[in-house]
């Protein structure tokens, strides 16, 4: 298990997340995919903290902050999505089409 394994894993997570973001029709699904990307980044931090950093605490603390922040973000996102659901009665991303041009 070397650093590169972890980096590849995190990049794969990122790629999976991106794939999800681009293909999921459901807004919640897209949000979940975003979370996957964020966690990929977290994994990266941890891996770097373990393998390379002379300041490993930072690498350990950062993911915690990220989790907190992303939790906030998700909370807001869910609120918005719910309000969206109220307007459109669907969570289909295709329904977001009124604004264009």
């Amino acid at each position: 298990m070397t650093l590169s394994h972890f980096i590849i894993l995190s990049l794969m997570l990122c790629a999976i997340g991106v794939y999800g973001v681009l293909t999921r029709r459901n807004l919640i699904g897209i949000l979940l995919s975003v979370e996957v990307i964020l966690n990929g980044a977290n994994l990266n931090f941890a891996a770097f903290a373990h393998f390379r950093a002379f300041d490993p605490t930072a690498g350990a603390v950062f993911p915690i902050f990220v989790m907190a922040v992303s939790a906030c973000e998700m909370a807001v996102a869910l609120a918005i999505v719910i309000s969206m659901y109220r307007r459109k009665k669907r969570l289909d991303v295709y329904r977001l089409e009124e604004l264009n041009g």
Binding site: S10, C14, G17, V18, V21, L27, I30, L31, V34, I37, L38, G40, A41, N42, N44, F45, A47, F48, A49, R52, A53, F54, D55, A58, G59, V61, F62, F65, V66, V69, S70, C72, E73, V76, A77, A79, I80, V81, S83, M84, R87, K88, L96, E98, L99, N100, G101
Partner: protein, 473 residues
Amino acid sequence: MTLLLPDLLLLLLAAIVMAVDLIRIRPLSTVSFHLSWAGLLIIFLVLIVLPYDQETIYLGTYKVNGTALLFKQVFVLSAFCTVLLSGSYFTPGGNARGLLRYRSEFCFIILLCTFGMFAAVSATDLLTLFIGMELATIPLYILSGYQKEDSLSVEASTKYIIMGSLSTGFLLFGYSFLYGCAGSLSFEAILAFAQSAPADPLLRLGVLFVMAAIGFKLTIFPFHMWAPDVYDGSPTPVTAFISVSSKAVAIAFLLILVYGPLAPLHKYLQPLLLILAGATMTVGNLGALKQKRLRRFMAYSSIAQAGYIIMAMAGGAEAARSSIIYYLFVYAAANYAIFFIISIAGRDGNEEFKSLQGMGRRNPVLAAVLMLTLFSLGGIPPLAGFMGKFLLFASAAQQGFYSMVIFAALNSTVSLYYYLLLVKEAYILQPATSSRPLVTDRIQRAALLLLTSAIIFLGLMPLFSSNILAVVR
């Protein structure tokens, strides 16, 4: 602790506003509104009198220096204008699109967001920077969906948050690579690493991820796609706030990184920045050509402006910093002036080009202000926008990128075309139906007076720009 005073005052103000909301007596109370703008004004005054030639680092992570203070001025002024601008949207009958509610919360969120920006420009490490940026960004998601009843607003908000989250993901990846290279989150360590190994692929990978992420906030092509929709859908004061504050903090972020820890990579970044700048201003200008809705139009216009701004980053640290900060003030003044006019002319809720028709006769003063503002955005002397753009271009020219300067100036000619289209709407075209006179309230008049004089005098008075130069030196 003096240098921290504005940050603390801002937090205090936010707390007070929130508290007022908790004990508010009537639903339409304007106490928090007045409290907010007055408080922001005081903070601004405090910011002005602070010493600009010092640099203090608090707790090893929170740095305050002249550049940061200047950025804080921009943020405070922007928040101040947004609060004033929001006034009429919270007043019944102020705008036909729909009444905004929960004024104190609105103000609170604005203040909090502004604090996040404060934190971002004071950062000395990636963590503070990240927290500050997120604090500055997440409230904006909420604000853009503030008009819950309006499906456009909600749609805008949804698009914004999803794209924003993706960019946060990229940002974090970027950070993680930077951390991985330098082994530390502090800028000093990253700088040291960048100096020793500027060609490290991991470092570059990180930088590119960060660039992409910040490109989102700065509406750089091709990361700008959210901007027109979000600008168009959000309530007007929020659009104004996003167009100025959010852009300003992104620029601050970029300045901090590019001329801070990533300075050794500047040569490597230069062509990249120029390409992005050229593409961004072109796309922004082209997009604005065929618009009919004012807020969407402003979105494209601000995309183009972002292009000019990052072009300046091809220049040296001093020139870039001073010209960009100066331009931010100018840009903020002009943008807010336009949004004020939009709020006045767009009372019918449409906020389209048509709303401006016949303004030359309906309200000549307002029309004149509009014209001055647009000319300033178009970079016409002797208005501030000209001086600002001149300095931006000079910054790029200093490094010998003359063809880029020509390209940008030609782009600015294209932008003049659509600004003149607005002038044409206001002066030359007459409304099909007879329309009401354009009424303004006291706050709007005062704000417009301030902004217009800023637009005129920032370009003529050397004091201000010279000060900026002195500060960033």
